[in-house]
Amino acid sequence: MKRIYLDYAATTPTHRDVVKAMLPYFSDSFGNPSSIYSYGQESKGAVEKAREQVANLISAHDEEIVFTSGGTEADNFAIKGVAYANPERNHIIISSIEHHAVIETCKFLEKRGFEITYLPVDKDGLVDPDDVRKTITDKTCLISIMHANNEIGTIQPIKKLATIAREAGVYFHTDAVQAAGQIPINVDDVGVDLLSMSAHKLYGPKGVGALYIRKGTRLVPFMHGGSQENDRRGSTENVPGIVGFGKATAIALEAMTGEIERQTRLRDHLITSILEQIDGVRLNGHPTKRLPNNVNVSIDYVEGESMLLNLDLENICASTGSACSSSSLEASHVLLALGLGHEQAHSSLRFTVGKWTTEEDINRVLEVLPKIVARLRAMSPLLKSHK
């Protein structure tokens, strides 16, 4: 049975061309970019070329890109970096549906005297720009709101939000780990000061990411050590990883328009068919302001992990916001923030399509999912009590 991978938001396979681009930088051009002999300079050149490629993806200047070990580090860097560089201000505003990398970083700061505002979202997952405006004080140093949500795919009005921040003289960071490479981003047009990216979400390797830092933004370095990355992040560069990231962004940029169209079609086909074929289903996230690859539904009366397990038996990989499948045994904070009850969060199922998803794959899901749901509903005690 062919394996159908529909969890591209979790991670993507590394593109073969990306791997090919990376290979020379392991054993052949292995030099340290900080060394001045030609080996080192070869590596240095490769890193700088990748920097240009990554900058291109978001229309930034090369020197505004700092490579990190991934999206989580980029988020940590942005938030702690601004927090500690601006000691006269101690207030940070984030949304309640941020990735854990942002939320947990803010909770860490909260314990150390910072004040954090967690903004609510509406039923589709959108932040209200007015809420942002109202909560800014003269102590606010940073607003961090994700570009697109990893669970429900909702895309925030980043330009509006960043404009509010700019007018108030507050730095604006966006976690664009899910958005980058999928939808067009132009940092100058939207006016963000900081933006996080990750390579493995866009067919690059794991363990590498980047933080875009607008020229002139005050933030303290994240890793203290050598003077790499313009003194902003010590540590010998992950040359093969960075090269792979660069290549992946170049491929993503080239394929973007076509992929948006193709994936949106697959996404909508899956959403409408699930809603048609199964009753008691709710689409989570905004119906149109959503990533081209994201499908997230709550299927009444059935628990998510048991659906995943059944799908896995059919060789289909998906994910859920159910408490049962999280190591903390807590339901998804994102789904709860939408106003869903615990039972609905429990019943959520996320499919994220990608480069190699076909119409056939979607049809296979549509063939097996209704049967799985019917089987699980037959053993659900919830169904009866709702009759």
Binding site: E303, C324, L329, H346, P381
Partner: protein, 139 residues
């Protein structure tokens, strides 16, 4: 291939794929309805008792793979047992009968044990009521 299936033993997967005794019993002699305080899942267990022996058991469960498998297993284990024998079953014995559960999933087997105890409690209280009714009639 590392996947969620490999999280569970073969026995668990067997009970998950082909759960035994799914459903409800009409006019049960005891019903257990419990919620899992940890992750919020729900199980219902119905028993039919003849003399002192459990002659039938059925369940309905809203929960993860482990919850469904332990529910199924517990019904299989109690049918044919006396009430006292059934009371000796704990979440650990159910988990053992399933060839073990991952540590993070042990709490799901507690759901099955709780449901069993609550069904037996319900049976006992029905018995008492029945007896007092019978007594009342005699008077």
């Amino acid at each position: 291939m590392p996947d969620i299936q490999s999280l569970y033993s073969e026995k668990v997967m067997d009970h998950f794929r082909n759960p035994r005794n799914v459903g409800e019993i009409e006019n049960p002699d005891g019903t257990g309805h419990v919620g899992n305080p940890i992750c919020g899942d729900i199980m219902e267990l119905y028993i039919k008792v003849n003399g002192n022996t459990i002659t039938d058991a059925k369940f309905k469960t809203f929960g993860c793979g482990a919850a469904i498998a332990t529910s199924s297993m517990v019904t299989e284990m109690i049918i044919g047992k006396t009430i006292d024998e059934a009371l000796e079953i704990s979440n650990k014995t159910v988990a053992e009968a399933l060839g073990g559960l991952p540590a993070a999933k042990m709490h799901c087997s507690v759901l099955a044990e709780d449901a069993l105890r609550s069904a037996i409690d319900d049976y006992h209280s029905k018995q008492k009521k029945g007896k007092s009714k019978a007594k009342a009639k005699k008077k």
